[in-house]
Chain length 207, copies 2
């Protein structure tokens, strides 16, 4: 399978981490793709993903493309037998999916803030917008902090929500080094430090 | 169950349409919520959704909140027996999920363009950004147009991807009345006209 890849994307990272946790990393090759707002990439839009985003996964049949990091993660989980990164049923399933949605929303918000403060021409920046997006990260982080107890078992396989949050926090460290999120969320920080020791995350950090 | 609601949100609409298709609409009450970027809503952020977005669904136990329209749609589908709006397994499952992701990405792009052209102070608008987002709508629409054949059976229950696309196109009509999307995508237009006759969509249009 071919994964449309960018080394800085937190969404690509979570797919790579999921594949590593599931033992599928060696079945996936990485295809570097340049995508960014206001830059054209007609070939990618026409051939792979009309939204011009990464990740996308081209399956081994060469004609099927899965779009969206969540869809790809669910597919990989099923390929590995199912139920490993997301419970198949019960309250726990909806809990993990909701946590994942919050972590992805936090990540989206940071990416929008980054576009505002780095990509947009300086004269057109709207500080309130960037602040609003960053606030979503902070309230999301507080929401997680309230729901976490302790640093988690060292050897438990992380679920899709934990992977999504770890990739969000890694992106915060990468693009917002001034954020003292560890000071504001010590439980999440301890959990993150533990997770970062796993090869799935240690080997996929943004660069 | 209580659905956090805005009458203009295409994401809320698709949850309402899904509930109607599943025969669950009368188990859901609507709770109007005011959310928009750069407007605070601390009570909502603290009590319901730290991302300050709609929809969110508060379950009848009063303490469980599901966040994200996709998570809510999947939950309602399971509540109705499962497999009605999304195939439970097989290639068709990944196909529908990928189509849904493209439709949601198109909707996200239109919402970002709307924020750029209506919410942001005029002096800070970046036409290239709005254009880029709108292009994602158009390339997504072209992607769907290529994959559709005919107007679809009149009585078939639409899947999650069809509902998401219909709500996206309804949002385009509502916020971008100058878009001639029907001229550029006649097959999608015929399918949409057929879908709009269903009570689930006819009764939930933006206003």
């Amino acid at each position: 399978m071919k994964l449309m890849f960018s080394p800085t994307s937190p969404f690509v990272r979570r797919v790579r981490a999921a594949a590593a946790e599931l033992g599928l990393a060696d079945r996936i090759s990485l295809e570097p793709i340049q995508v960014a707002p206001v830059r054209e990439n007609d070939a990618y839009a026409a051939g792979i993903n009309p939204l011009r985003k990464v990740p996308a996964l081209v399956l081994d049949d060469g004609r099927t493309t899965l779009i969206d990091s969540t869809v790809i993660c669910l597919y990989l989980d099923e390929l590995a037998g199912g139920g490993r990164l997301l419970p198949c049923s019960g309250d726990e399933r909806w809990e993990v999916l909701t946590r994942q949605a919050v972590a992805l929303g936090m990540t989206d918000a940071l990416v929008l803030s980054r576009y505002e403060t780095a990509l947009r021409p300086q004269a057109l920046r709207w500080p309130e917008w960037a602040h609003d997006q960053e606030q979503r990260f902070w309230t999301g982080l507080g929401w997680f902090e309230e729901r976490m107890a302790g640093a988690g078992a060292a050897d438990a396989v992380p679920d899709l929500a934990q992977l999504a949050l770890a990739c969000c926090l890694g992106y915060a460290d990468f693009r917002f080094p001034g954020f003292d999120w560890r000071g504001r969320a010590p439980v999440a920080a301890a959990r993150y430090a533990r997770l970062l020791q796993r090869p799935s995350l240690a080997s996929t950090g943004p660069s």
